[in-house]
């Protein structure tokens, strides 16, 4: 499999980045949900600390993905009606935006709560804002609302891929998988 994207499919770098983010998002959404439901205590602190570390990892990967994508255009979309093309473009852009907005709002929230972020206990990140309980509360609401939007967009993204695979049968899914397309 080529490292760079070709006209037919995504290269290995784009694929590894895509599927790493998928795996991390599953962990991340699970940790976020668990932390949200836990009572105040050490478990919550630990779960949130891990959630923050994975979030910062996703932020880093999102930046690498975007840079890679800028210098290495994705394969063109298969033929499809214009409205589907518009929705697909919009959804991809929104997913990218949320890959940045989710960790950034979480980081802001941590700073506002005066619970600074450490990346897996290895390095402390600088605070983005001064402690502010009101701001922290607003950011919490925003973070949660965006998480729900992210889940919907991921759902659309997966449904779209499945539609191409099983209804259109245009082999679109193979472009993001390491196996040879049929």
């Amino acid at each position: 499999m080529p490292v760079r994207n070709t006209a037919e499919r995504y290269g290995s770098v784009a694929q590894i980045l895509h599927w790493s983010v998928v795996a991390l998002l599953i962990v991340q959404i699970t940790l976020g949900k668990i932390a949200h439901d836990l009572p105040v205590g050490l478990d919550k602190l630990v779960t949130l600390a891990r959630h923050k570390s994975f979030g910062i990892t996703i932020l880093g990967l999102a930046a690498i993905r975007l840079l890679w994508r800028l210098f290495n255009r994705p394969p063109p979309m298969p033929p499809m009606p214009a409205w589907q093309r518009v929705i697909a473009h919009f959804n991809h852009a929104a997913l990218y935006a949320l890959l940045f907005a989710m960790p950034l709002s979480g980081w802001l929230m941590s700073s506002a709560h005066n619970f600074p972020v450490s990346w897996f206990g290895l390095a402390q990140l600088p605070d983005l804002v001064a402690p502010d309980a009101g701001l922290a509360h607003d950011l919490e609401e925003l973070h949660e609302a965006m998480a729900n939007i992210l889940l919907i967009l991921i759902g659309l993204h997966v449904l779209g891929a499945l539609k191409h695979q099983f209804i259109d049968r245009d082999g679109l899914l193979w472009r993001m998988l390491p196996w040879r397309s049929r």
Binding site: L42, L45, H113, N114, F115, S118, L122, Q124, P131, A133
Partner: protein, 191 residues
């Protein structure tokens, strides 16, 4: 004999400067005199909190022999980490246990110079446990005020701060740094 004359007036000037400050060597201050902060570690990240209510009484003459006393009383309920949930936990029996031990008290009567700084070896009583703690500080003045700025590092578990699950040092650092930056005023001065 110009030189000895200059030398004499110099000595007189220094003596005058040394004598100029307040008649009393007792200095005092509270939360209005400056800040008393603590830096603790949660999940590998340091954060800063402060005490909103405390008093300092410092009987000391920086120009005299290194004897005197330093007493700091801290109202533990005034701990403020900018997060109400965490402040609540700090007040609970698992941390400061403010219901039973509303105040922490630091008392020192031994002072010595360490380079540019002073070192006060004393005892901190916190959560019903007294342990030796050293405070390092610099002094500015004295003039109408005595600037006092420094740090002390202590281990929270020496005082039982963080019981049960909170005694983990993996997620909550044992070391806590206390920082203060104060402008003390003579104890006999009217506010």
């Amino acid at each position: 004999m110009a030189l000895p004359l200059i030398a004499q007036s110099f000595v007189a000037a220094v003596a005058c400067l040394a004598a100029a400050p307040a008649a009393s060597d007792v200095w005092q201050g509270d939360q209005n005199a400056g800040s008393l902060q603590f830096v603790a570690t949660q999940a590998g990240a340091k954060f800063t909190g402060c005490f909103r209510k405390f008093t300092v009484r410092f009987d000391f003459d920086p120009a005299g022999p290194p004897s005197g006393s330093l007493e700091v009383m801290v109202d533990l309920e005034s701990a403020d980490t900018a997060d109400a949930e965490r402040d609540g936990i700090l007040n609970s029996a698992e941390f400061f246990w403010t219901d039973r031990h509303p105040q922490a008290r630091f008392q020192a009567s031994q002072f010595r110079r360490e380079g540019e700084r002073w070192r006060a070896d004393g005892e901190l009583s916190l959560r019903g446990i007294a342990q030796p703690v050293a405070v390092l500080f610099t002094l500015a003045g004295p003039s109408r005020q005595l600037g006092m700025k420094g740090t002390a590092t202590l281990r929270r578990l020496d005082f039982g701060v963080g019981q049960g699950e909170w005694s983990t040092t993996e997620w909550i650092g044992n070391e806590v740094e206390v920082r203060f930056d104060l402008a003390l005023i003579p104890a006999d001065a009217r506010p």
